[in-house]
């Protein structure tokens, strides 16, 4: 099997420990860093689709993302400006009043694996912190807001409204979480909704392309 194919297969299979070595072998075989990165992003797209369709579960997706992250570490010194991405930066966080982070973390990983830089603000993030991060971060193309609880849906709405009212532009807002529906997402003024982490990565790419 050619090195690139083997690399893609191992990323998809979540063989995290093997990925860095295979990235190095792919480089040694004459492949350039951008092509290798692109191949891994494609693999993560496959993993995301498999997750969305129920073919693989969260642990497998996490392991694939872990593998890709290790592979990117090998590539980073070789990528232009040390950047691994071309899709811009995503600011992500769980809105104020909500401490849940599993969904947010999965989305962050998948969005990063899709080719974004990710700035993760964590959980229970006040509106002001989102706005400050958008202001102070270069090349923000996406803001992702998460909320698991029905009781924090008003905070999702307030955060979207405040970001829109800030006058800052050049990015899209995506929201998600168990109680969030496409209708709710549209009603609060967000640009997109995704039902799961795999879908979020696909939607994120669509939004910024």
């Amino acid at each position: 099997m050619p090195k690139m194919e083997e690399l893609k297969a191992k990323v998809e299979a979540g063989k995290a420990k093997l990925v860095p070595g295979l990235v190095q072998e792919a480089l040694d075989a004459g492949n350039d860093a951008q092509s290798i990165l692109k191949a891994m992003i494609e693999s993560m797209g496959v993993v995301g689709d498999k997750f969305s369709s129920g073919e693989v579960f969260i642990p497998e997706m996490l392991m694939a993302a872990k593998g890709m992250a290790k592979g990117v570490e090998v590539l980073k010194p070789l990528l232009a400006g040390g950047s691994s991405t071309s899709l811009g930066t995503c600011i992500i966080g769980t809105v104020e009043g909500d401490l849940h982070d599993i969904g947010k973390n999965l989305v962050a990983m998948m969005i990063e694996s899709a080719g974004f830089e990710v700035v993760d603000l964590g959980v229970d993030v006040p509106i002001a912190k989102f706005i400050e991060a958008i202001k102070e971060t270069k090349n923000v193309t996406l803001v992702a807001l998460s909320g698991l609880l029905t009781t924090t849906m008003p905070a999702l709405k307030a955060t979207v409204e405040a970001i829109k009212a800030s006058g800052m532009t050049g990015f899209k807002i995506i929201v998600g979480g168990a109680p969030v529906t496409p209708e709710f997402a549209a009603s609060i003024g967000s640009d997109a909704y995704a039902p799961d982490a795999g879908g979020a990565a696909v939607k994120a790419k669509e939004l910024v392309s």
């Binding site: 579960f57 497998e60 009043g97 401490l99 849940h100 959980v123 109680p179």
Partner: protein, 321 residues
Amino acid sequence: MNQRENFQVMLDGGKPEFIPLYMELYKVCLLGANQIDQPWNGGLDPFGVNWIATKEGVIPEPNKFLFDDIADWKKYVHFPNIDTLGIEGVAQFELAGCNRDEQIVNVFSTTGLFERLAAFMGFENALCSLIEDPESCQEFFEAMADYKIACHNRFIEVYQPGIITYFDDLATANGLFMSPAVYRSLIKPSHKRIIEAVTSRGVIFAQHTCGRCEEIIEDYVEMGVKIWNAAQISNDLEGIMDKYKGRLIVEGGWDSSGPVSYLGASTEDVIAEALRCAKQYGPKGNYILVPVLMNEKGNSVMVGDDRLGPMIEAWHKVNKL
């Protein structure tokens, strides 16, 4: 029939006289769980995990883990001495004034095997560990099951419950956290021991699992689970009730992620949801309604809610069978 007699008919797969409301059927005892697993008001649990209190309940402090590598669990997990946890005192307090002729004592046992692993090392580490080091995970689950069994035995002695409700959230809104195969190989053997230790003493085992977990309901029933609690509508509830009538009672049915559970849902909406549950699930006969009303202060069951009274009134009036 009183609540207890009616419940027994449901358990046996017969036609009940009425469909119960969770809070009327049970005397819920949750302070034992406070002592052994998760402090309801936040703070350190007996293992050293810090819990944060929120309106919705408690949650392990985010990003603060006891250990990162499951292979190290023995270094960090020190099982508490059950004699020192004060279970007897809280049981005495909770059982004061309990009418056992009418209500069934239902003791909560929170933070099941998987939830405990996640509390120790975070969801991502816990989930990756299932794939990266299944042997250590299995060893951990076996040891934690021993602790849970010892706690449950003490609960049975001091509370003399009709039911123990064991909480382990294994699913998201869309599906299981891990594949059914991983659940079956790593968690289920220890889970089975926990269930058998309760049922072998004549106590009913209720399993709380939120989310879409229908893929492992068969496993639950096979192991001796008699009640599935927190049954959410992302599962095929009617199909499950039909399939397991006489073997499983379903508690839940409320659209806990939908508009009726949003803050500010009207009393009319709440009543309409209760009536939907009555009409859709009541005729199955193996169903108990668990309303999930959230307000600014938290869960209505704990903090009260003006909408609860009219909803209960409507529930009692409607023909559910």
